[in-house]
C-alpha cells in the first residue's frame, strides 16, 4: 500500500463524510427537501390552472417540464453552501477538509437531491398533465438522468459562488441561467424527440452534448472551487 493510495482513500472518506454530514442535517430540518417538493407541487398546479382542462401540444409540455425542474432546482440546490455560511461552519470545514473533498461531498449531495427532484417532477407531471406522452422511453430516461446530473453539477458551483455574495436568494437563478442554457436547450430538444417517438439513435447528438457538458462543467468547477472556498 503506497502513500498515494492512502491519501486518495482519505480524500474519498472525507468527501463521503461531508456528504453524510449534509444529508444528516438535511434530514433533521428537511429545509431543502420541503422547499423543492412544495415548489414542484405549486408550479405544476399553476400549470394545471392555466391550462384549465385544455391540453397543450406535446412540444410545449416537454419544454414546460424543464421549466418546472429548473426553477425548483433554483429554490433548493443552493442550500448546501448557503447553510455553511449562515451557520458559520464554513471556517471549520475549511480547516478540517481539503477543498476538493468538500466540493465532491457537496456535489454528491446535490446529485442525490437533483435526482430526487427530477424523479418527483416527472412522476407528478406524467400523472397530472394529460397531453404529456412519452413514445420513446429510452430517450426519455437517458435525458432525465443526464439532465439531472448536469443540472446538479452546474448549480453546485454557482451555489458556492452565491453563498459568498451578499444576496443569496435572488442572484441564484440569474447566475445559473446562462450557464445552464446549453443544457436546458438540449434536454428540451431530447424530450421533444422522446415524445415524438423518434428512435434512440436520433438523439445521439443530444446525448453527446449532454455528456461533454457534464464533463466540462465538473472539471472546471473542481479546478476553480478552491479559489471560491478559501478565504
Amino acid at each position: 500500500m503506497s502513500v498515494r493510495e492512502t491519501t486518495t482513500l482519505r480524500w474519498i472518506r472525507a468527501s463521503l463524510a461531508v456528504f453524510l454530514k449534509d444529508w444528516r442535517s438535511e434530514l433533521r430540518t428537511r429545509y431543502a427537501m420541503s422547499a423543492l417538493v412544495m415548489f414542484v407541487v405549486t408550479t405544476i398546479s399553476i400549470i394545471l390552472f392555466s391550462l384549465g382542462g385544455e391540453g397543450a401540444s406535446p412540444e410545449v409540455l416537454a419544454g414546460m417540464l424543464w421549466v418546472v425542474i429548473f426553477f425548483a432546482a433554483m429554490s433548493g440546490l443552493s442550500r448546501t453552501f448557503v447553510m455553511e455560511e449562515e451557520r458559520g461552519t464554513g471556517m471549520t470545514l475549511q480547516l478540517l477538509t481539503p477543498p476538493g473533498a468538500v466540493f465532491a461531498g457537496k456535489l454528491l449531495f446535490n446529485l442525490v437531491l437533483g435526482a430526487g427532484l427530477t424523479l418527483l417532477t416527472v412522476v407528478l407531471y406524467a400523472f397530472f398533465i394529460n397531453g404529456f406522452i412519452v413514445r420513446t422511453l429510452s430517450i426519455f430516461l437517458l435525458t432525465i438522468a443526464l439532465g439531472s446530473v448536469g443540472l446538479a453539477a452546474a448549480s453546485t458551483i454557482i451555489a458556492a459562488i452565491i453563498a459568498r455574495a451578499n444576496t443569496k436568494g435572488t442572484l441564484y437563478p440569474v447566475l445559473s441561467f446562462p450557464i445552464l442554457l446549453p443544457l436546458l436547450m438540449t434536454v428540451i430538444n431530447a424530450t421533444r424527440l422522446a415524445s415524438d417517438g423518434a428512435p434512440l439513435g436520433e438523439a445521439a447528438g443530444e446525448f453527446q452534448i449532454l455528456i461533454s457538458y457534464i464533463v466540462v462543467v465538473i472539471t472546471v468547477s473542481t479546478l476553480l472551487f478552491e479559489y471560491i472556498w478559501k478565504d
Binding site: 458551483i157 454557482i158 459562488i161 459568498r164 455574495a165 451578499n166 444576496t167 442572484l171 440569474v174 447566475l175 441561467f177 446562462p178 450557464i179 442554457l181 446549453p182 436547450m185 430538444n189 447528438g205 443530444e206 452534448i209 457538458y213 466540462v216 462543467v217 472546471v220 468547477s221 476553480l224 479559489y227 471560491i228
Partner: protein, 232 residues
C-alpha cells in the same frame, strides 16, 4: 497618441468606404461593390455588425484572461482590467444585438427569430448582465474580484456550446447554420468580392484597435479612481 491618430484615420476611411462606395450590378472599377440580389444596399451592415459582435466576444475573452491572471497573482489591477473589458463587451454586445435586430426586421421580416446566432448573442448579454449583478452584490473588493473571475471562467467554458455546437443542430438564418447550402460550421468561406473583403478586414482591424484604445482609457480611469478613493 500614435494609436489614437492611426485609429482615427483608419476608422474614417472604413466608414467612408463602407457607406460611400457605390453598389452596382456589374462592377467595372475597383471602387464598385457588387450588388447581391435580395440584399442590395442592406449588405453594408456586414462592415459594422460583424466587427461589433467580434469585439464583444473579444472583450469577453479578455475579461476571462485577466480573470485567470487575477486568480494567479491577486493583483487588483488585473481585476480592474477584467471589469473594464466586460463593460466594453456589454456595450458592444448591445450594439450588435440592436443593429442586427433592426436589420433582421427589414431583411428577414421580424426583429427576433431565435436563430442560433441570435440565441448565442442573447446568452452573451445574459452572462454580462449576471456578471455585473454579481459584482454589484459583493462589497468586499477581494471577494468581488475572485467571485467574478471565477464566474467569467465558468461562463466562458459553456460559450463554445453555443458557438460551435448549437448552430450545427439548429436551423438558422445566419450563414454557417444547419441547412446552409455552403456547409454548416463556425468558419464560413468568404464569398465577398476582393474590395469588400479589404474594407471588411480593415473594419475588423479598426474595431480591434478601437477596443484596445477604449480599454486602455477605461483601465487608466479605473486605476485613478482606485488610487484616489477614500480609504475607509
Amino acid at each position: 497618441m500614435t494609436l489614437r491618430i492611426l485609429l482615427g484615420v483608419l476608422l474614417t476611411l472604413v466608414i467612408v468606404a463602407a457607406l460611400g462606395l457605390p453598389m452596382v450590378q456589374h462592377p467595372q472599377h475597383w471602387y464598385e461593390f457588387p450588388s447581391i440580389p435580395g440584399l442590395e444596399e442592406k449588405a453594408r451592415i456586414i462592415f459594422f455588425h460583424v466587427p461589433t459582435a467580434w469585439l464583444s466576444v473579444m472583450a469577453f475573452i479578455t475579461s476571462m484572461i485577466y480573470g485567470i491572471r487575477y486568480l494567479r497573482r491577486k493583483d487588483p489591477m488585473d481585476d480592474l482590467t477584467s471589469a473594464s473589458a466586460a463593460g466594453l463587451g456589454l456595450l458592444f454586445c448591445v450594439l450588435a444585438t440592436v443593429t442586427g435586430a433592426i436589420w433582421a426586421k427589414f431583411n428577414w421580416g421580424s426583429y427576433w427569430n431565435w436563430d442560433p446566432r441570435e440565441t448565442s448573442i442573447f446568452v452573451l448579454l445574459l452572462i454580462y448582465g449576471a456578471y455585473f449583478s454579481l459584482r454589484a452584490a459583493v462589497e468586499v473588493e477581494e471577494k468581488r474580484a475572485t467571485l467574478s473571475s471565477v464566474y467569467s471562467i465558468i461562463a466562458a467554458v459553456t460559450v463554445p456550446f453555443f458557438v460551435f455546437i448549437m448552430p450545427r443542430i439548429m436551423t438558422g438564418l445566419h450563414p454557417g447554420a444547419k441547412g446552409d447550402p455552403d456547409g454548416a460550421g463556425p468558419v464560413i468561406e468568404f464569398k465577398m468580392s476582393l474590395n469588400m473583403r479589404v474594407v471588411f478586414f480593415s473594419s475588423l482591424i479598426a474595431f480591434t484597435l478601437l477596443f484596445l484604445w477604449m480599454l486602455s482609457l477605461r483601465v487608466r480611469t479605473a486605476r485613478l479612481e482606485y488610487h484616489h478613493q477614500p480609504k475607509g
